[in-house]
Each structure stands twice: as C-alpha cells, then as structure tokens.
C-alpha cells in the first residue's frame, strides 16, 4: 500500500513526529511504500539542521535525514510554514537578503501543492499531530 504522511508538531511539543517516524519504519519493513512525508505547522521544526540535543537523547532531525538517505523517502517542508518560523534554505535566504542555511540533509522545501499531490497519489493519508 502507498502511504502519504503529514507531521504537524515539533519534536519537543509532542511525540507525534517520532510516532510518525516509527510508523514509517514499520510500514517500510512490511513492504509498503511511503510516497512522501510532508512537514506542516510546527512540524517544520523537525527539519532544522542545527538542532543539537544532548548525545543521550533522540536525534530527531538526524533520524529523518538517515531515513531519507536509506530509503529515498521524499521529505517535504512547507515553504510558508517554514518561513514563518525562520527555517530558510540557502537559496531562499539569498533571495530574501539573509544568510541562513537551516535545512537538514534529505529534506526539501516546497509548496502545499506537494501535500495535495501526495494525498491524491496515496492509498492512505495519515496525519500525525
């Protein structure tokens, strides 16, 4: 089955993002496909490259990057939600006359159309948070 996933909460606001991560791993292990993970609302905080939690805590952002690298999962961050919260990739920062480069490896920034497309392509769409 083909899944589309949306993550709406930040790593330290709720467990929903990590639950999504575990769900995706379980789905992949059982041979399902994950078409796209879309980060919206405070979910965009999962994509901050410079998040530096203590070594003995879960490394949320690094886990997503590793997931994207290992399974070629499409991790998309909503551009308007990201810009509201100060998450800018280097291209967008340059365009805005800023110097940020905040987006972690494996994520890409795009628009809400990518979310609608994911819900159209997928057999099941699941919202976390």
């Amino acid at each position: 089955m083909k899944f589309a996933i949306q993550v709406n909460t930040s790593p330290y606001q709720s467990n929903a993002g990590h639950t999504a991560y575990q769900f995706i791993n379980a789905a992949l292990m059982q041979g399902h496909e994950v078409f796209r993970v879309f980060f919206y609302h405070d979910g965009v905080y999962h994509a901050f490259k410079y998040a530096t939690p203590p070594d003995d805590e879960l490394q949320f952002t690094a886990q997503w990057s590793e997931l994207a690298r290992r399974y070629q999962i499409d991790l998309v961050v909503c551009i308007s939600a990201a810009q509201r919260r100060g998450l800018l990739c280097s291209d967008e920062a340059k365009r805005q006359g800023k110097q940020d480069d905040d987006l972690a490896e494996g994520f890409r920034i795009s628009g809400l159309g990518q979310l609608v497309e994911a819900t159209l392509e997928a057999d099941r769409f699941i919202v976390f948070g």
Binding site: S80, G111, L112, G113, L115, V116, T119
Partner: protein, 118 residues
C-alpha cells in the same frame, strides 16, 4: 478527483493554526478537488459572528471562510452537540452550515476519500 473532509476542532486565533489550515483548504480546492469542512468541538468558534481579531493582532480568519464560496467550497458541516455545549445556534455563525448529530458523524466521514485532521 478525490473528496476531502477537513475536520476543524480548534478555536479561532489559536496561533497560526486556523490560517494554515485554511491555506491547505484553499490549495486543495484550487486543485479542483471536492472540498467539505466539518466543524467539531471548539472548531465551531471559527465561524462565530462578531469577532474582532484586530484587537489581539490576529488575522480575520472568519473573513477567509467567506471567500471559500469562490473556490466552490459550499458544504460546511457542524455537530449539533458541539454548538449546544457552547451555547451557540447556527444563526450565531457567519455562514450557513448543515448540522449533524454526534451519532451520525462517523457516517458522514465515511462519504469522503480523505479526512484531514486539523
């Protein structure tokens, strides 16, 4: 084409939440999908008449709901109990809504391909 039901449960002006949900709703409608909205729990306050969000520096999200008609979003559902528990009547809302009893909400949801929790 798929049919979408956006289930809105949070009150108006709870941060940027309502505005960001409306962005998804408008984008989905702009993709020519069939879009409906269900207001549950505190979500019924999103359409409450007589809001003055400018007093707290928030955007007038109720006005954006009025623009939904342009995008062919005409079906707005709400739950009878959610209104009653908050002392509201359909006439207190700024758009016409179709009321469903709590026992019938699950049946309503079954009519749609995609349920968007918000």
């Amino acid at each position: 084409m798929k049919s979408y039901l956006f289930v809105l449960r949070k009150p108006a002006h709870s941060g940027a939440h309502v505005q960001e949900m409306l962005d998804i709703i408008l984008t989905t409608a702009a993709f020519d999908q069939k879009v409906s909205i269900l207001l549950l729990d505190d979500g019924v306050f999103q359409l409450k008449n007589g809001q003055h969000p400018e007093n707290i520096g928030m955007k007038d999200t109720a006005a954006i709901f009025n623009a939904l008609e342009i995008y062919d979003v005409n079906d707005i559902y709400t739950e009878v109990e959610s209104l009653q528990e908050r002392g509201l009547k359909p006439g207190d809302l700024c758009l016409p809504v179709q009321e469903f009893y709590r026992k019938d909400i699950a049946g309503l949801m079954k009519r749609f391909d995609v349920i968007f929790a918000g």
